[in-house]
Amino acid sequence: MSEAMHAHVEAATGHGVHHDEHNGHGHHHQSFVSKYVFSMDHKTIGKQFLITGIVWAIIGGLFSVLFRLQLGYPGQTFPILETFFGHWAEGGIIKPEFYYALVTMHGTVLVFFVLTAGLSGTFANFLIPLQIGARDMASPFINMLSYWFFFLASVVMLASMFVQTGPASGGWTMYPPLSALGQANDGSKIGADLWLISMALFIVSSLLGGLNYISTILNMRTKGMSMTRLPLTIWALFFTAVLGVLSFPVLLSGAVLLLFDRNLGTSFFLSDIVVNGEILPNEGGSAILYQHLFWFLGHPEVYIILLPAMGMVSEIMSVNSRKPIFGYMAMLGSLFAIAILAFLVWAHHMFVTGLNPFLGSVFVLLTLLIAVPSAIKVFNWLTTLWRGNIRFTPGMLFAIGFVSLFISGGLTGIFLGNSTIDIHLHDTMFVVAHFHIVMGVASMFGMFAGIYHWFPKMFGRYLNTTLAYLHFWVTLIGAYLIFWPMHYQGLAGIPRRYLDKSGWHSFNQFGDLDKMITVVSVVVFAVQLMFVFNFFYSIFKGRKVTSTNPWGATTLEWTTPINPGHGNWEGEIPEVHRWAYDYAKDGRDFIPQTEPIGNNESAH
């Protein structure tokens, strides 16, 4: 950036909208460190979240490939594993401890580090100021802290994978007593402490981020940007942040209590335990209490993962159908309903733990209510597509894929939400299939849609479209090939988390199916690596964006320069005069939000 231009942006940054008040001197000479490392620019922080998320996704995905090898080919030796993992895979066979460490870390990494930080961290940071018309977040400094706390959490979690006794391996939910007692398994030694510390840091990060997102969306909207003119992405990210701010602290409490149980001899979650003939002194705690605390976060967490994807899909679908989103207010209402219900249904994860059955039936009712707003959203997406002038860009394909997966996975949620059916289905592969489709893969699709759609805004270049189409089709077909058969396995009673079920006669019929799933997951993982290549290659060598508004979208981020500097707009922040979805109106393809309402314009 030239000196003159830089000064210009500085002037604009200081103008009108406050910057961090406590930091009046501005950012005159940005060194490499202050521009790319300890950056306070929301766009850079968003990219930092994204790239850290991608690194974690590769690690977490690789873990799933490793344990799929065990599930598909139990007993077979893969000498290469021993080369890389040493005593964890002696003789090329994955040890049980290693297997459990892999599944635990796969869950933790994907749920928290990829789909929470990587997804809402990336897009909340990147899109909120751009789409509401703000120079930056309310507090850029706290925003920077949010990323670095996440980074710290990442370092601790990564470190836990290299300690002698291995990382936490009691499942990503860390239920005590398994996770509370070092005697129980190797992963519950230092690995579990590191897991808890890492999560505490992660919670701080998500809290700092969430507070910033909420106050930015409320306070920093540009003139004319009323709440009902906001793009649905912003609404979704807003509810995501609210969910995080209210539910993560409960996990923090649970984690602190668990740390005490582990290290101070307290009995919050432990009672009546005998290890190797020795009676432990812990008495009077309740292991179910931990599950309550965990799922009070855990269930909203599902929506923390899903809502940003829903918001981005709504936006991308409308842009690429060249039609207004169908039922904007219904979309808002259903987001709100989902956000509230998310807090009321946590115990449906605990139907078979000894939860009071009557209480369980109340949770069944509340759980099934979620079907209503979810169905509203699905119908609105489908009606947005209906008779649209659809452009099948990669982003759009992933958005449509999201809806497909959300329907497929959502339907099985109705099975699992009934406590009676859950008695048969809990802890089987059916559950694995359900949540991977509806929240795992679906949210990944939302994330991919977002990346393909906003990549031009992030880096001023396009991703390679051929690779993108290949990425989409292989991932979509692969996801269904991997997870669809798991429903049948689950209905037949195959438990999840078992590393070798060849001892059961009745499960032997699924041997070939498991091999198929494993082969497909290797292929899908390879295609994700191809996407990562496409991502980094295109940052530097991709086709350049030549117009400020390549998709013909109405929202504010496309009124900024192709490579916006810190402060986003060079002159005044534009004023907003209309909602974000004026597509195909009065014979015009689209009308930007910044255009004043004309005299003889039709009302929508």
Partner: protein, 153 residues
């Protein structure tokens, strides 16, 4: 400097004159003190009932309920007057109060399940029931008991 705009986010600033302010603070302080004293009296009352020869469980429960309500009243005054939430505009008050409603279900579900866990153990873990259930003479602390109690370890 008094009327300098703090930031463009602010539309108008609050102004309270000294006299009303002082009156309000003094009144609230006295209120909080009085409520606390009533709570203490109730607390001592509960203690005396427990200590007495024939504790009335319903009365204790009633006292405890009263204390809870008084605590909520205290919380209301602290938030509304000391934290000035009462002076904010209505929408702001709502964004604070409405999410707190989640506590209702949070508390009910947790407590009900805790209670249910106790009942489960009393039904299926006789040792737990026998060793932890308060004996009938609990509360009658002064009364010497000569005969051995059943279920005593």
């Amino acid at each position: 400097m008094e009327h300098q705009a703090i930031s463009s986010e602010i539309t108008f600033e609050h102004h309270t004159d000294d006299a009303t302010f002082r009156k309000k603070v003094v009144r609230t302080t006295i209120l909080l003190t009085v409520i606390t004293i009533i709570e203490l009296i109730l607390g001592v009352g509960i203690y005396l009932i427990h200590k007495g020869p024939d504790p009335n469980a319903m009365l204790v429960l009633f006292f405890k309920g009263l204390v809870c309500i008084l605590t909520l009243a205290k919380a209301y005054y602290i938030v509304s007057v000391f934290m000035h939430l009462g002076d904010e505009i209505r929408n702001m008050i709502m964004t604070i109060v409405v999410p707190l409603l989640l506590f209702i279900w949070f508390i009910i579900a947790f407590i009900v399940d805790g209670n249910s866990y106790k009942n489960l153990r009393n039904t299926y873990d006789k040792h737990f029931q026998e060793t932890t259930t308060p004996k009938p003479h609990h509360g009658a602390e002064k009364a010497p008991v000569a005969e051995p109690q059943p279920g005593k370890q």
